[in-house]
């Protein structure tokens, strides 16, 4: 990595550590709560992470009703 790129990664990592502290501050109330920390994405800024990995688009869907029979819809 170039020095600029290396510094960017370090900055992203430092930001990740701060973020983990905030996210984990909610966890102490119940021991089943999620834990957040360093993983393979800690060198990415959230914007970079989003741009690479969060690329699914939701669809507007009808609300499910008990009366609906699942296989009846969208059948060929």
């Amino acid at each position: 990595d170039s020095p600029e790129r290396s510094e960017k990664r370090s900055a992203a990592f430092r930001e990740s550590l701060k973020r983990h502290r905030y996210l984990n501050s909610f966890s102490s109330r119940a021991n089943t709560s999620a834990i957040y920390g360093i993983n393979q994405f800690s060198h990415l800024f959230p914007e970079e992470f989003r741009a690479i990995y969060l690329r699914s688009k939701p669809s507007q869907l009808p609300l499910y009703h008990k009366e609906l029979k699942m296989p009846a819809t969208h059948m060929p």
Partner: protein, 214 residues
Amino acid sequence: LPIRFDWRDKNVVTKVRNQQMCGGCWAFSVVGGIESAYAIKGESLEDLSVQQVIDCSYNNFGCSGGSTVNALNWLNKTQVRLVRDSEYSFKAQTGLCHYFSGSHAGVSIKGYSSYDFSDKEDEMAKVLLAYGPLAVIVDAISWQDYLGGIIQHHCSSGEANHAVLITGFDKTGNTPYWIVRNSWGTSWGVDGYAFVKMGANICGIADSVSAVFV
């Protein structure tokens, strides 16, 4: 409903995969659902080609993103047969669609159902039991830092951005949760899985839910 159920216990869920730098989560989610539906039907459990869906689903954008519902709509309309992963392997980038002859073995779908189950997660669990793992879209912004435990905060409904596969649920403890297979490799989360609290539409997990029939 049973208090715990996981399709993995029936050996009908394929292993966790890694989408690498490709934004093809939507394809991993849909293909995972088809693999399981096929195995639940009594056929063999095998990895089907995610790359085929990424390259050929013309109503999506390959590794630049897509929708599970659009992918299922394409599979249903075209009756394309998904071939084995070994015959059309994952390249982590969008490529040209490779066509196979009509006689080539593969799995096509018979139909699918996509609904919004918000406020109806018990009904959603019944659908999971009846039809197999569910392809869903969640808000996964905070999942960048997830290590384990039950996700209960830090994500919202109505801002879905990542497709995953629900394989089961567990209501044995104080906090019931969905068992969610991701496509970020086994080193992420709990061996590639995440747990999301049930009953409050956490991360919008019930907003966009698809079951597939083969």
